[in-house]
Symmetry: C2
Subunit: 409 residues, 2 copies
Amino acid sequence: MGRSAKAASRLVARASLAQRNEALVAIGDALADQRAVILEANAADVASGQEAGLDAALLDRLALTPQRLDALADGLAQVAALPDPIGEIRDSKTMPSGIDVGTMRVPLGVIAIIYESRPNVTVDAASLCLKSGNAVILRGGSEAIHSNTALGEVLAMGLSRAGLPAAAAQVVPMVDREAVGTLLTLAESIDLVVPRGGKGLIERVSVESRIPVLKHLDGICHVYIDNDADPAKALPIVINAKTHRFGTCNTMETLLVAEGQAHLLPDMVAALQVKGVEVRGCPLSRAAAPAITVDAQDADWSTEYLAPILSVRVVADVEEAMAHIAQYGSDHTESIVTENPDTAARFLREVDSSSVMHNASTRFADGFEYGLGAEIGISTDKLHARGPVGLEGLTSRKYIVRGDGHIRQ
Amino acid sequence: MGRSAKAASRLVARASLAQRNEALVAIGDALADQRAVILEANAADVASGQEAGLDAALLDRLALTPQRLDALADGLAQVAALPDPIGEIRDSKTMPSGIDVGTMRVPLGVIAIIYESRPNVTVDAASLCLKSGNAVILRGGSEAIHSNTALGEVLAMGLSRAGLPAAAAQVVPMVDREAVGTLLTLAESIDLVVPRGGKGLIERVSVESRIPVLKHLDGICHVYIDNDADPAKALPIVINAKTHRFGTCNTMETLLVAEGQAHLLPDMVAALQVKGVEVRGCPLSRAAAPAITVDAQDADWSTEYLAPILSVRVVADVEEAMAHIAQYGSDHTESIVTENPDTAARFLREVDSSSVMHNASTRFADGFEYGLGAEIGISTDKLHARGPVGLEGLTSRKYIVRGDGHIRQ
């Protein structure tokens, strides 16, 4: 599979934008043609999942419905409509020697996506890889094997109709865990691994992989309410960052409040409790807001709850807030609420996270909100891509030098 | 060392541009103040090297002279004069939600430089790391230990005078090979490893490292003379790409000539032989140019000679040239000579090397020639930096989001 993916990747890389987009449209058509087959395969997976006692959340993510298939088709059309992420020569400038030097974005080659039992990822991730001129190897959770196999057929049909090799998007047919281990050793064939799922999956992939991994492990995001914060901005940002969705990686897990703003805590805590949030506080925050009835333990500061729980700590100032973030944060997303431009500039400069915000909810850390048009994942590493990763994160660049017979003196 | 470097990296990252530049200037001053000490330490290394029977080329690279120290001081002043590679918010744009999204370049953290017995690298590499807000751990060849220790003192003096911690630039004091192995496991402390030296060193570092490595293994660069080439451009480019310097990674090692241009070979070969180049040819090139008296073996196509030797092959057209490059090349630098814009565009697009050129000598593949202002190395990998790597390759970026109380709907 690795070798055929590598060979196919060269053909996808050479394909014109029109041909790559044609493949995406043809995959959308095949998705419609094969709807009955896909739903039947998915029903078999769901039935096995029910027998195996999967919980309701997992079964929900496993299930495909006509509406979800429509959403996949819409996603394909949207990705087809995005501008070409490769091939254009940018930043061209003439050097003193007379040569023109520019850069061109190029595909990475072969991307492996390792994910859990969400069959929609099969189509979503494949569309981003193909659009950016890459081949893709898809390894989904074993509970979704029938769905993914049916979707793999759909990908192959679409590619063939556009004159591209089916090996450009392959679903791993084996369900055993060892298949992942083998995949992660194929450094000659695979250029980048993108794990999508829970922390356990991502940790396993990171530790075992001999191939670069695009990942974030935790999203322990902080909002810091500065001494110079505008309370009218602070409250909505806190509520949104915590309660807009509880299970996402850009949800606030710890609220830091400057001493001078501790008087805001009772209203904030009341509003959070109305939304069903359990608040765990440090002694100073409990003193300021008696409605906080749970002591925050040391472990709370480094926990990604992914649940309606929030830890709250009162700090002296931005300095102490940044020290807390440096010690306990996960380099994902942090936001400062302040009207003081110098304090904001310092926070934006010195906090070493993949997204740093001023007077905005951490929930904005997202490829679509950043205008990337798509998102393959979020990276908290510093090499290659960082933060929400769109199509450009699936590309590299090369230098393009144009002369007219120029030689080096 | 790793832990103190990590702690120091946070202070360097926060330091203003003025403070980082002050450190570079102060290192230059210390280099002048300590000249006698450095030359004495270097004399001891050179004497040991002579006793140990090092060859003349190695001894030359090991030796520091007043002129070479002047060149190091000039280099420091030049790096100080470069614009700040970090801290500026770029590409800021307002999204439909109302938030402003931009990016800011940030230091990587701690860079380890592993190099052979060229003590000037100690100062050159440290200056680039410090300018870009990183801390650096320097591990040079054991033959240069006294020189590097003296230069390490100079780095410490300069940092101290600028109010920065000496731990921001540390020379590894151990000379045993195991020290490198240990260094390469410190993934918690070190963010990037840059090996500089021969292929053996780079291969060892690549295989052993648990930390990302910025590297290129080979520079098997090609020039392809297309059927539509202008002979008046082809000859100077061939001569320059092969003979400007023999030992550099961007030197041409294989010349590919389209059938229709094989009649140019006798003149080219004569000009190369005048410059002392041994030419090894395929049967067709030997038939076209009887002055080629050596048969190219299969191993020639994948050999980086780093010497006055060139392999020559006659190919049918650009298609066969690109197939040869894909099979035998090292993804470093390739150039096409042609007057046909479509053929040039195809070559620039489809050849998957870190630099691809049209009507220019491969010798231009260089950070200074590309206007990067400096070069820490050349990367032929696709992740993170690619091609000649300047200060930007020692940085990452983070997203900067600015709102005015914005929450996600």
